[in-house]
Symmetry: C2
Subunit: 207 residues, 2 copies
């Protein structure tokens, strides 16, 4: 006899189901144009039950931003602990980028899409998270040989350049059809070369 799950366990599971339903649906239509009823249907509940978990679709959107960045940050922090990454930061992070995005395709798709087009609240939340991520990368970059002496503003500038380029390449990976290792290889190669070009600028930078 399997014991029945506790009440809050069940509630948590339904909440997850709603989040996953929204993530999945927004992959094909964009979060802003999916309806509360669609999400509920996909999650296997009745529309009114939705309100037991979120006050509105907007609140769901914010929760989705939070969950997406939590997943992403976790993966990227793990990748940073990889000694190979520290040794050859460019080649490694180009590959890590493609791999991580592929593993979390839906989260990245959501962030990339809603970054520019979500509701104001969702857009701001994503912008804030992205700024945070830029600051985090800046700390890593600051330890690189040519950068040690830079002002912190300059390091953040470079970090921003890196992150924005990553976001763009991530968008490409997301849009990439499955089972196309050649396209994947091409994206990795281009990302690597772009990052190299930016790093080359580091050596000559002043003020």
């Amino acid at each position: 006899m399997s014991e029945s799950p506790s009440r809050q366990e069940q509630k948590g599971r339904t909440r997850e189901a709603i989040l996953n339903a929204a993530l999945e649906l927004s992959g094909t239509h964009g979060f802003a144009q999916i309806s509360l009823r669609q999400v509920s249907r996909q999650a296997g509940i009745v529309p009114t039950a939705f309100y037991r978990h979120f006050e509105s679709m907007d609140e769901l959107g914010l929760a989705l931003v939070e969950r997406s960045f939590l997943t992403l940050r976790t993966m990227i922090r793990e990748a940073q602990r990889d000694p190979q990454v520290f040794e050859n930061i460019i080649d490694a992070s180009a590959e890590v980028l493609v791999r991580v995005v592929k593993q979390n395709r839906m989260h990245f798709a959501f962030v990339a899409r809603e970054r520019a087009s979500g509701s104001a609240a969702v857009r701001e939340a994503i912008q804030r998270e992205l700024e945070l991520f830029i600051s985090e990368l800046a700390v890593v970059l600051a330890r690189l040989p040519n950068i040690e002496t830079w002002s912190s503003e300059d390091v953040k500038l470079a970090s921003g350049l890196f992150v924005r380029n990553m976001v763009y390449r991530a968008e490409q990976v997301v849009q990439m059809p499955e089972g196309r290792p050649d396209r994947e290889e091409e994206i990795t190669r281009k990302a690597r070369r772009e990052m190299r070009l930016i790093v080359l600028g580091f050596e000559k930078w002043q003020s």
Copy 2:
């Protein structure tokens, strides 16, 4: 007595009204979530009259992409003819960027928004136009001193880096509240420094 406009003149005017209505409305809500009825209302016609001009909202979207890029390309080509731009390509284009975006705020907002989140057709159209623009810029870049010897693939890589950064800064200008010359100045400054950093990489680039 003013002579009445010809039939096709009037039709063209209504078409413009629809395009403008859609552009304006999509500024606050995103094109994908505005309705045929809203657009018609704003354009001052009855919903069914919409079909005399476009078969669907999707076709309207494509027309909007076309018109936006036509406007943008015209302005940017004019800017290129400015001799000051050719002399000091970085400082000038950072300023031109901010100025041009401010003058065509709604067109840029539309493109930036729908680039990632529009319908598949709209997204592809924008991607194509952006690629075209990258190729155009590549021709300009190819004449720069350090770049003459590069392979055309490398030039396009650098051009892509530039354009993507421009798109990002354009997004910022679009989101910028009116009458904030300080924010404007800051964006110009950052764009300039970023471009400079990329250009520095040019000097050391090989293969």
